[in-house]
């Protein structure tokens, strides 16, 4: 991520709204610069960071856009690998040894009879390394002397610029005390990354009706941290919100607002983004299926009941069961094409005992009679452990028997319960005419 000094000058506000001055990825001048920086960086593999810093300074020359250059360079550096030179002795110990023989002066005298090279030769022999290795190891632990051993991914100029734009957009959140989002899909990834960035959430269901009259169900989620409710306003979690942003970009339909308080500025600013943004995410989306069991189940369903063959539609992870400070996202939902009756399905396979216990706890808390648990026989989940749970439980030997599952669905599916939701504006999908720059 970018440091505040590289990001702050590219952030401005107008009429209470905050904007980020990104650069156009298809701009030929910037592409040329990006290309040159990438090549210059790659040319510095196996050299110390100080050499790269010097080369960058030379490249910058007197350009006034040096902050953007440094931003691009920071992106390159963050994705690269560095390591301190090592040898037969640690740098700290070597220094200790050398300083004990010092100080060295240009003229020898009675108290200090040895010259610098003589001292180094002596120490070198003592330790068993060469004179030149001493020079290399002397301050090898300093960050500036770390060696660039891997220059990172194969950047294209466009990709580098787009990543820089993302980092700028993230950095605006450093000064945020809260974020609110509307999401309509990608729930699994959203909550997975929330957890990774240690953010706290509060969610409520929402619906929106788009231009075609189609209803979209989703969630409004407020994001902040543990201490937020107890203080007037805190930007303590700004970095975490910034870290999290690329996860939001994985969804297809979403919008977000963040309250921003810039340093030395009393005004409360609003920072807005939605799925029309040209920003892209480098986070990994979870694969189509978490496990083979799930993918097999979906495949089999498609084979037997897909298209016009059956009267049920199988969807994946499109419902979030809100359980206070945590959520449960069942693997599948199955909906009747005609009357809209619906049931949710969770496949319980080979899980770590702790994970299983947490999951069972959630299922119990959910108290959903329209939930069907498909439990793999070989794991240790007896009926005893599932008492006081109104959900239907089916055990299977190798794979779930689809016929039985459909039977269970018919028993427990309910007509969509009118959940109290808030109506919100639909999120458009077409990008707007002009971008920020």
């Amino acid at each position: 991520m970018l440091t505040a000094d590289l990001a702050r000058p590219r952030i401005y506000h107008r009429s209470g709204k905050l904007y980020v001055r990104t650069i156009k990825p298809n701009d030929s001048t910037w592409q040329k610069t990006a290309k040159e920086l990438i090549e210059l960086f790659r040319a510095h593999v196996d050299q110390p960071v100080s050499a790269w810093t010097a080369a960058l300074e030379k490249y910058e020359s007197d350009r006034v856009d040096y902050l953007v250059l440094r931003g691009l360079a920071k992106v390159l550096r963050d994705e690269a690998d560095y390591v301190a030179r090592t040898g037969a002795i640690s740098s700290t110990d070597l220094r200790s040894r050398l300083f004990a023989s010092g100080p060295v002066l240009s003229h020898q005298n009675l108290l200090h009879p040895l010259s610098r090279s003589e001292i180094l030769a002596e120490v070198a022999q003592e330790i068993g390394i060469s004179h030149s290795q001493i020079e290399l190891l002397f301050f090898a632990d300093l960050p500036a002397e770390h060696i660039l051993i891997d220059t990172g991914p194969e950047w294209t100029p466009e990709a580098l610029i787009m990543r820089y734009n993302l980092e700028l957009s993230r950095a605006a959140l450093y000064w945020s005390d809260q974020m609110i989002v509307h999401i309509f899909d990608g729930y699994q990834d959203f909550w997975r990354y929330l957890k990774l960035f240690k953010l706290m959430f509060w969610a409520a269901p929402i619906t929106s009706i788009d231009a075609k009259g189609k209803e979209q169900a989703g969630y409004q989620i407020t994001l902040d941290g543990p201490i937020s409710p107890f203080v007037q306003s805190t930007t303590r979690y700004g970095r975490q919100l910034a870290g999290f942003l690329p996860a939001l970009l994985l969804g297809k339909r979403w919008r977000m607002w963040a309250n921003i308080q810039l340093p030395n500025n009393d005004k409360k600013l609003l920072y807005q983004l939605d799925n029309r943004t040209p920003l892209t995410s480098h986070f990994k989306a979870s694969g189509e299926f978490d496990s083979k069991m799930e993918s097999s189940f979906a495949d089999e369903f498609e084979e037997k009941f897909g298209d016009k063959r059956g009267s049920w539609i199988l969807t994946r992870e499109d419902e979030v069961i809100l359980l206070g400070d945590t959520v449960m996202i069942p693997d599948f939902a199955i909906t009747h094409k005609k009357d809209g009756r619906r049931a949710i399905i969770e496949i319980v396979g080979f899980w770590h005992p702790d994970y299983l216990e947490r999951k069972v706890k959630k299922v119990r808390q959910a108290q959903r009679s329209d939930l069907i648990l498909l439990v793999y026989e070989r794991i240790n989940l007896s009926k005893e452990k599932l008492k006081n749970i109104p959900s239907e439980v089916l055990y299977f030997k190798r794979k779930p028997v689809l016929k039985d599952v459909i039977g269970a669905v018919k028993r427990v599916a309910v007509e969509t319960v009118t959940v109290e939701t808030v109506a919100v504006e639909p999120v458009a999908v077409e990008p707007p005419d002009d971008s920020n720059e």
């Binding site: 856009d65 002066l105 240009s106 108290l111 301050f139 941290g225 201490i227 107890f230 805190t234």
Partner: protein, 482 residues
């Protein structure tokens, strides 16, 4: 499931707690708790108040993760009466509150005694990294001495700040880093000591006191802030120290706890010339820089922040950028010009049998000198353990010289030196004066010398002249008030 209380990111959270389950009537919920995001939560600093309530509601306390420290040391130093009084007052107040003692009154010793009395994992919060290092060194020495007497292993002191994150039962951190440390590990410390506690009211720093469950807190300072209650408005989001760690439990305002011994010292300016090559580079850059400043009248219009204004202009205006770069090149050149290094060498020849401290502007210059002369280097990049070892060896006379860049600063122990050498004197006048005072304040340093190596016909001289002019003005003012 048994109800329990856990520490989470600076808050306390009740799990598996049903207010109506165990008691028939509406249970008395402790007022500290709030129902937030479907759980009862409160700021961690309410922890001590919850004790009896947790007991009566039979809630499992999963909060404390602090250790008992195997401390049983005998210190040879005799504590002063006022130190004992202060500690007793603090102890009687339930190990909560602030002790106000003048500078030099041995607050470190008070802190060590406090840790000893509590005997549990402790976190010390210091205002700067330099002070963090000083605490590290002093605590290491105080508690390392035990390993000789007892069977147990020596108490390791942890440090938690940007460059190093080592958590031990006794850990030192900075106000800046305390938040992250406490959010993740706050329940590992039973005692928090806030050094220079007058810094605590700052908005994001005071928050950290809210986030810690430590029942024992000690604030140390020489200058307790005056809070004018009538004039605090609702937009003031600064904290009150009393709310966070307790009131002042002891205060001592003695004018001179230790006699100030102003040693006599002499200052010597050594003027050197730039080499021909350096001179050419310098003159060219100086011209670029000064021309721009003059043309835009920056000194006048920008006021004290003229440099910030120049930096802002440099992102839009090419000439401004060139001026900034020229200034940077000048500073680099002056930091370690050849002639300055030669002059340094000569001074070292002369004074190498005495204790010498070398100050220079840039880290690069420090490392250059360290390499060339095999003299220990101290910069902000030096880790705590190495820094401690270097300073101790220097004090013990094992290293006759030390080279550093603005690392030994206000409030930090600068070891005794007979000779101080300042290269370039680029630092602000205030820092310079402080350094002067520092080496000389120590005991019995008669005829200590401060050398300043400056390059002729460069900004070194202008700065020096400005400083002298300021000094003369001050002296004049003093004369007039007598």
């Amino acid at each position: 499931m048994h109800p329990s209380l856990s520490f989470q990111g600076g808050t306390l959270v009740l799990y598996d707690f049903d207010a109506h389950r165990d008691k028939p009537a509406q249970a008395a919920m402790h007022p500290a708790f709030q129902w937030i995001k479907a759980r009862w939560r409160c700021e961690a600093y309410h922890y001590p108040q919850l004790d009896s309530w947790l007991h009566s509601m039979r809630v499992r306390d999963r909060v404390p993760c602090w250790e008992t420290l195997p401390l049983n040391f005998q210190d040879n130093r005799q504590p002063h009466d006022y130190q004992i009084e202060a500690l007793d007052a603090w102890q009687n107040a339930g190990y909560l509150g602030s002790i106000v003692l003048p500078t030099g009154a041995g607050k470190t010793f008070v802190a060590i005694q406090a840790i000893q009395r509590v005997g549990r994992s402790t976190l010390i919060v210091a205002p700067t990294i330099d002070l963090l290092h000083q605490w590290y060194a002093r605590l290491s020495n105080a508690f390392a001495s035990q390993s000789q007497s007892s069977q147990s292993k020596p108490v390791e002191i942890g440090v938690y700040y940007g460059a190093e994150k080592i958590i031990e039962p006794i850990t030192v951190t900075t106000y800046h880093s305390a938040g992250d440390l406490i959010a993740a590990h706050g329940n590992q410390f039973k005692l928090i000591i806030y050094d220079e506690v007058h810094h605590l009211p700052a908005p994001s720093w005071g928050e950290t006191a809210l986030m810690s469950p430590a029942p024992y807190r000690l604030g140390l300072t020489a200058t307790y802030p005056e809070v004018d209650e009538q004039h605090r408005n609702k937009f003031d989001n600064r904290w009150r120290i009393e709310d966070l760690i307790g009131p002042i439990v002891y205060e001592k305002r003695i004018e001179d706890l230790i006699g100030k011994q102003l040693a006599e010292y002499r200052t010597e300016r050594i003027r050197v010339d730039l080499t021909t090559e350096e001179r050419n580079l310098y003159d060219a850059d100086y011209e670029i820089y000064v021309e721009f400043i003059r043309k835009h009248g920056l000194h006048r219009s920008g006021g004290a922040n003229w440099y910030l204004e120049l930096m802002r202009m440099s992102t839009r205006d090419r000439e401004a950028r060139r001026a900034v770069l020229a200034r940077q090149r000048i500073q680099r050149l002056l930091a370690s010009s050849e002639a300055k290094l030669d002059a340094l060498d000569k001074l070292l020849q002369e004074h190498i049998h005495e204790q010498v401290l070398i100050f220079t502007e840039s880290n690069d210059a420090v490392y250059r000198i360290a390499r060339r002369h095999l003299i220990p280097a101290l910069t902000h990049q030096t880790k705590a353990a190495e820094r401690k070892a270097i300073l101790e060896a220097y004090r013990a006379g094992e290293y006759p010289a030390l080279v550093t860049s603005k690392v030994l600063n206000e409030g930090v122990d600068v070891p005794e030196a007979k000779v101080a050498i300042v290269l370039g004197g680029n630092a602000g006048a205030r820092e310079y004066v402080q350094r002067l005072g520092r080496i000389l304040r120590k005991v019995g340093n008669r005829h200590a010398t401060l050398y300043e190596i400056i390059a002729r016909k460069t900004v070194d001289e202008n700065r020096f002249q400005r400083r002298r002019a300021k000094e003369r003005e001050k002296e004049k003012a003093k004369e007039m008030t007598r």
